[in-house]
């Protein structure tokens, strides 16, 4: 199913190009929050999107909870997560997404990444990916792994004219 053009722009630019209005929303009943099953799917999805390695992944940083909380304040976003979680669960086979092995989850994320533009699945992937990386790289524990001395102030980068890494300046 194609995603409504106004929703796509609004969900993507991060700014409300179009104010939420009854005219945009479908008249479909939505619970005010994600169900416990959907939260589990979202958690498993984000664990695949940003797994642990030598630095904490999405789960360790509480990203599923942050995104679920954001969805409670944005009806369009809530609907998007509902759609995405339903797709993941339905497409993963009889075991469901949460119980699927890593290879199956990765295959589904690959499908999402390459899904038809602008299908609901594609919008789900792009928006959740964007938000997840925003939360992830805003966490100081991930910055350390980048060997980036930020934030930019109060020190700045006084050796900006030199190649990075010289004089301890990245």
């Amino acid at each position: 199913m194609k995603f409504d053009r106004r929703r796509v722009l609004r969900l993507f630019t991060g700014a409300a190009l179009f104010a939420s209005s009854a005219a945009i929303l479908k008249s479909v009943f939505l619970p005010a929050t994600l169900s416990s099953g959907e939260r589990a799917i979202l958690k498993a999805y984000l664990d695949t999107l940003i797994p642990d390695d030598d630095s904490p992944g999405a789960i360790a940083l509480g990203i599923p909870e942050k995104m679920a909380a954001a969805a409670e304040k944005d009806r369009d976003y809530l609907r998007l997560l509902h759609i995405g979680c339903s797709w993941l669960d339905a497409t993963s086979g009889s075991n469901g997404f949460v119980s699927s092995v890593e290879a199956v989850r990765e295959e589904l994320l690959d499908q999402l990444e390459h899904s038809e533009i602008p299908s609901e699945e594609w919008v789900f992937y792009q928006r959740t990916r964007r938000d997840a990386f925003q939360h992830y790289y805003a966490d100081p524990r991930t910055i350390a792994a980048l060997d980036y001395p930020g934030p930019p102030q109060p020190v700045g980068f006084p050796d900006y004219g030199a190649p990075p890494g010289e004089d301890g300046n990245t």
Partner: protein, 549 residues
């Protein structure tokens, strides 16, 4: 309470005129719809989540505007569409999309989030009608403005190369140019390989301690607000000096809603909404409107009455006309070598080779190219991960680590010529919280604008290629998006009331005590120059011709 001078809008024009009037002893009230920002409190560059924040717009009266339907896009011009490696095309509509008009309300105006560029207008761009048969001429010469450019540069602490090959000047810059960043040197080398010039950009950013402010420490985040005050935004320069005279009062978060005219072609007072929402008014002997090329015509058109049924200053129907926007292109490459490209001033280097109005073959109106990695907001890992490093999982994390600091972006801004389909009017349906109708932006790119944009795109790609950043990972431009920071022309200045709104000293042809001191008076946009320094010089010049109280 009554004042000698009431100034509406505290940006480049309002702030500089407030200073100019105050030092002459005029009793000045400087009013803005936005707040006064505290650099150490409001600009959050010391926080771990700094990258998530853009400029912290806030205030009781947030600005808003609307758009008319923008033009259809030509399927043959796919190479001018905006895209990135993660998302593909940034939109897939067959019509140009309204992204936004970047206008900051506050004491300092849009200089609060600008990248500090302090450009003089190309003298050739001031004779567009007489030399090229397009647009309009400025009603005075560059030489007449030059002393006021010098004064504004001194107040701001502009850093630039001496000598400056790009503009005639009668004295050196106050401060030495900022050395190029390591990443910027790659662009310089690329331009040299192509036989193009590349020089340090002229910036209202301190290269040394000056005027009680510290030098820049090269964090690259000018657009998020400068907590150190080394960036010469109007609040820490002109307004600070105005306040120091003791003759200037600043009123923030007060939105002007109507200008009231009286008999004898004189303005009586300005009505406004206070922070608590109450309606108030203030009178003065002289009125300066400095809200920018979208908001100034909005205020004038809203101020219609029996004296001016079609809006103040609009007897000839020219208010809002001749709207000129930002013609923009950016190409982002990923260099094979680590550059640490998040370091340095936001836009350290610039190429002026195509800035003359006849520099681009077959096109009237020039452009400039500059280093814009910072302006492209590729200063931290969030934007790398979201925009230019595709994928997910552990491989993606390794890719982000490998890519970080290697983005290299070249941008171009080009001349915008007026056309009858680009103008500002009042939205007939939408209003803001005060009940004022919104300004409605009508924009149409002409075939010449698009050809200029094509030149900008192709040359930007060549420069990146020559710089060693052949893999382009993102491009965006104003072919498929309306996205303006610099806007001009909607209250054009000129000799005659028949074809201009204000005279050569920016005073209304009709209203004896009303001046407009912002870029809405520009008869031409220039070949991509940032307008704030010219706005400030114009204001200083205009006030210099006004007698002391």
């Amino acid at each position: 309470m009554s004042y000698d001078v009431l100034i509406v809008g505290a940006g480049a024009g309002g702030g500089s005129s407030a200073y100019a009037f105050s030092r002459l002893g005029f009793k000045v009230l400087l009013m803005d719809a936005g707040p006064a920002y505290d650099p150490m409190v409001d600009y959050r560059l010391m926080n771990s989540g700094w990258e998530q924040d853009k400029f912290p717009r806030r205030g009781r009266w947030p600005g808003s505007y609307s758009f008319s339907t923008l033009q259809e896009l030509d399927p043959r011009r796919e190479d001018l569409r905006s895209w990135n490696l993660v998302q593909g095309r940034l939109h897939r509509e067959g019509q140009r999309q309204p992204y936004g008009y970047s206008h900051v309300r506050g004491i300092g105006g849009s200089t609060l989030h600008f990248s500090g560029e302090a450009h003089r207008l190309n003298p050739q761009s001031m004779r567009m009608q007489s030399r090229f048969g397009v647009g309009a001429d400025w009603p005075f010469s560059y030489q007449e403005l030059e002393p006021f450019y010098l004064e504004a540069e001194r107040i701001l602490g502009v850093a630039g190369p001496n000598p400056d090959p790009s503009r005639p000047r009668s004295a050196p810059f106050p401060l030495p140019a900022h050395p190029l960043s390591y990443a910027g040197k790659k662009l310089q080398a690329g331009c040299q390989r192509l036989g193009l010039g590349w020089q340090p950009n002229t910036l209202a950013i301190l290269s040394r301690a000056y005027d009680g402010r510290p030098p820049c420490n090269y964090c690259g985040n000018c657009s998020r607000g400068c907590p150190r005050t080394d960036k010469g935004s109007v609040d820490v320069t002109f307004v600070r000096r105005a306040l120091a005279t003791g003759h200037c009062t600043v009123l923030h978060e007060c939105q002007a809603t109507r200008i009231e005219a009286g008999k004898g072609d004189r303005i009586l007072r300005v009505h406004y909404r206070d922070t608590d929402g109450s309606e108030r008014n203030v009178s003065a002997r002289k009125f300066i409107i400095a809200c920018g090329a979208v908001e100034t015509p909005r205020l004038l058109l809203t101020s219609s009455d029996s004296h001016s049924p079609d809006g103040l200053c609009n007897d000839e129907g020219l208010v809002g006309k001749n709207f000129m926007e930002t013609l923009l292109w950016t190409s982002v490459g990923l260099h094979p070598d680590p550059l640490g490209s998040h370091r340095g001033v936001a836009t350290d280097g610039i190429c002026w080779d195509f800035n003359d109005p006849d520099a681009i073959s077959g096109v009237i109106g020039g452009c400039r190219f500059n280093h814009v990695t910072a302006e492209a907001n590729l200063l931290g890992p969030i934007n790398y991960a979201q925009r230019i490093v595709p994928g997910w999982g552990r491989a993606h994390r390794r890719s982000v680590r490998a890519a970080f600091g290697r983005a290299l972006a070249i941008g171009a801004i080009g001349e915008s010529l007026p056309n009858p389909n680009s103008y500002i009017d009042l939205d007939p349906w939408k209003t803001d919280a005060t009940g004022m109708p919104l300004a409605r932006i009508h924009s149409r790119l002409t075939e010449m604008d698009i050809e200029r944009l094509r030149f900008m795109a192709e040359k930007a790609r060549q420069i990146l290629q020559a710089s060693g950043s052949g893999k382009i990972v993102e491009e965006y431009g104003t072919y498929d998006f309306f996205n303006s920071t610099h806007v001009f022309g909607t209250c054009r200045m000129g000799y005659s009331a028949a074809d201009s709104v204000v005279d050569s000293l920016m005073r209304s042809h009709r209203w004896k005590n009303l001046w407009i001191m912002d870029a809405s008076v520009f008869p031409s946009s220039g070949g991509g120059e940032s307008p704030s320094l010219t706005i400030e010089a114009l204001a200083l010049r205009a006030v210099a011709h006004i007698k002391k109280p």
